[in-house]
């Protein structure tokens, strides 16, 4: 028998720091790969970047001037180097459509998506996890059936249809919520001209400014699309929670907890839940990442000026730099969330730390 259990606490801290460092390195490498992909795409698509800037009736000299400005005569590796350098300093190039800086455009569009996706994920988690647990602890019961049917509906009904019906019922008929857009036009003006913008997220900015009438209006605008996205992610989260929880409840340590005379709520919400958390974190992070990529359909129906509609509009206008800039942002979000969930994963699962 050897007595060599837990390493001392400070070693654990060191391990966590090591993991963070490793995660950041993975992040850097993944992003470089992503930039390479978008760089190559920009070079192989049959859209002439020069032509779309100067127009068809430009002179040879004008074309050459733009070529020089874009650095298109440089060797490929040099072009890539400049591209990466610019991207790292936050310069994703100019939109062909608007001529504006893509980074500053995305900085305006992304907070709208962030706000919507975050609220949707919070709804989905707050409802989905307890619903999944309820279903798992009473398999076959009416509660279980309801959770399963409601979840299945979330899976199988097209989100645009749900969105339209939602607007029709809650906005058109009942008038409980405000319609499409992030704010009523009057408040929009107020937001634009009299309030300080900190984050670009209206709920947070209006609260920080103490403009509670704007806040209330923003809530009544966001509640329906966020509820819709929350419903879709709830469907996924509750199903996963149900199956994870059923699996854990069959484990032997659950019997141990019961043998110790622990009440059922403690067996489920402490003993089993701590283990369910481990895979559930990944599930929630993935569904959050999915919403953050911008749900094109939802954003279209609710006239939500988010990342999804930005990329879609750019795509229809053949505005390649904007599409690729958006793609890079989506990639960064995805990789960052992945890393975050990995880190939380290590916090909740001691086995992943060693």
């Amino acid at each position: 028998m050897t007595d060599i259990p837990a390493p001392p606490r400070n070693t654990r801290l060191l391990q966590i720091l090591q993991q963070v460092g490793l995660g950041l390195m993975t992040l850097a490498i993944t992003l470089l790969g992503l930039l390479l992909v978008t760089f190559v795409i920009a070079r192989v698509v049959p859209i002439d970047p020069v032509l779309s800037i100067v127009g068809e009736r430009a002179t040879e000299a004008q074309i050459q001037a733009v070529r020089d400005r874009l650095g298109l005569d440089l060797p490929m590796w040099q072009q890539f180097f400049i591209y990466v350098r610019d991207a790292l300093t936050g310069d994703l190039g100019q939109s062909i459509r608007t001529g504006a800086d893509i980074s500053s455009e995305i900085a305006r569009y992304f907070p709208a998506t962030l706000e919507l996706a975050t609220l949707g994920t919070i709804f989905g988690t707050l409802v989905g996890v307890p619903a999944g647990v309820l279903a798992a602890t009473r398999p076959g019961s009416i509660a279980d059936q309801i959770v399963r049917v409601v979840g299945l509906m979330g899976y199988s009904m097209p989100v645009f249809w749900l969105g339209l019906i939602g607007l029709l019922v809650f906005y058109g008929q009942l008038d409980w919520v405000a319609g499409p857009g992030r704010l009523d036009p009057t408040y929009d003006m107020m937001m634009e001209f009299t309030l300080t913008s900190y984050t670009g997220m209206i709920l947070i900015d209006s609260a920080l400014n103490g403009a509670w009438d704007v806040f209330a209006n923003a809530v009544s605008h966001i509640i329906l699309p966020a509820g819709l996205l929350g419903y879709v992610s709830m469907a996924y989260i509750s199903r996963m929670t149900r199956s994870f929880m059923m699996n854990e409840l069959g484990q032997e340590y659950i019997t141990t907890a019961r043998v110790k005379g622990m009440p059922e709520w403690r067996v489920i919400w402490v003993h089993a839940m701590k283990n369910v958390m481990v895979p559930l974190i990944t599930v929630i992070a993935l569904s959050y990442a999915y919403l953050l990529e911008g749900s094109v359909l939802t954003e279209t129906i609710f006239a939500w000026p988010g990342l999804g509609s930005y990329i879609t509009d750019a795509l229809f206008a053949a505005d390649m730099p904007a599409v690729l800039g958006g793609t890079v942002v989506v990639g960064v979000v995805f990789v960052t969330l992945n890393m975050l969930s990995d880190m939380i994963y290590r916090l909740v699962d001691p086995r992943a730390r060693t």
């Binding site: 259990p5 032997e252 005379g261 283990n275």
Partner: protein, 276 residues
């Protein structure tokens, strides 16, 4: 004095293809002694042990004419009354500490949980008791084990933690369900001697479930031999090796012996009328 009196215990699982009877009318009684339950896999010995704690999950059902623990009928006890008995008065050690300890909680949290939640002790008192319990199962560095997670322990250490956890509230009855089957032979002996000493010192009743006949013969006072959910023979442990019943004899004949005759071991005869 009788500690536990089980009469006509049945455990049934309702499946899609009809009910499966895991335990079919088992009766036994137990004082402050060591009762062994032996039998091959699937004979219903584990289910018998768990039924005493009423820890059979649906779709399993427990039925019995009576299941008296210290005069109280467990079949009629409410869930709340059962919880008050579990841990406090009846404990259970399971087969493999790899699965029976919660992988994401520290050993210390699991050891003190009962004391703090059930008995309402403060953190300091609970930790002192837990440390003492770890010392009682001969763990040399209890402070460090308290901070460890189960996967950082060896099998033998894990099982000693499990025993310590179950013995902290000084129960009257301990059910040990194959407590050494997942351990190395040398560790087995250590764990058994710890279990033996603690049970003897504290004068508790022990139900020792095992498929190891020789171990049970040495370790227990009395033995139940189970087959297909029934008790086919009950006898004094020291007479186990001279058992008369054909099924028990069959089990004994299957044991290889060092220096015994080589060649294939006899197959167990399961066709006897005793199975019906």
């Amino acid at each position: 004095m009788t500690l536990l009196d089980v009469r006509n215990l049945r455990v049934t699982f309702d499946t899609e293809t009809g009910p499966v009877e895991a335990v079919r009318g088992v009766s036994f009684s137990l004082g402050r002694e060591r009762l062994g339950i032996v039998g091959e896999s699937g004979s219903g010995k584990t289910m018998t042990g768990r039924a005493v704690l009423r820890l059979i999950r649906p779709p399993g059902r427990i039925e019995a004419d009576a299941m008296l623990f210290d005069g109280q009928d467990l079949m009629r006890a409410s869930d709340r009354e059962m919880r008050a008995l579990r841990g406090k008065r009846i404990g259970m050690v399971m087969q493999d500490p790899k699965y029976s300890l919660n992988p994401v909680m520290t050993v210390g949290d699991q050891l003190t949980e009962g004391l703090r939640r059930r008995d309402g002790l403060g953190r300091r008192d609970a930790e002192a008791k837990a440390l003492a319990a770890l010392e009682a199962v001969q763990i040399r560095d209890p402070q460090r084990v308290m901070e460890a997670f189960p996967h950082e322990l060896s099998g033998g250490m894990g099982q000693r933690v499990m025993i310590a956890m179950m013995l902290i509230p000084e129960p009257d009855l301990l059910i040990a369900d194959e407590p050494t089957s997942a351990l190395d032979v040398t560790v087995q002996a250590e764990v058994l001697s710890i279990l033996d000493r603690l049970v003897r010192e504290r004068g508790m009743g022990l139900i020792f479930i095992s498929h190891d006949l020789r171990l049970v013969a040495r370790f227990c006072d009395r033995v139940l031999v189970m087959y297909k959910g029934k008790v086919v023979e009950e006898l004094e442990a020291r007479h186990l090796l001279e058992a008369k019943h054909p099924y028990t004899r069959g089990l004994l004949d299957c044991l290889p012996r060092i220096g015994g005759p080589r060649g294939p071991l006899p197959a167990l005869d399961r066709s006897g009328a005793w199975a019906q």
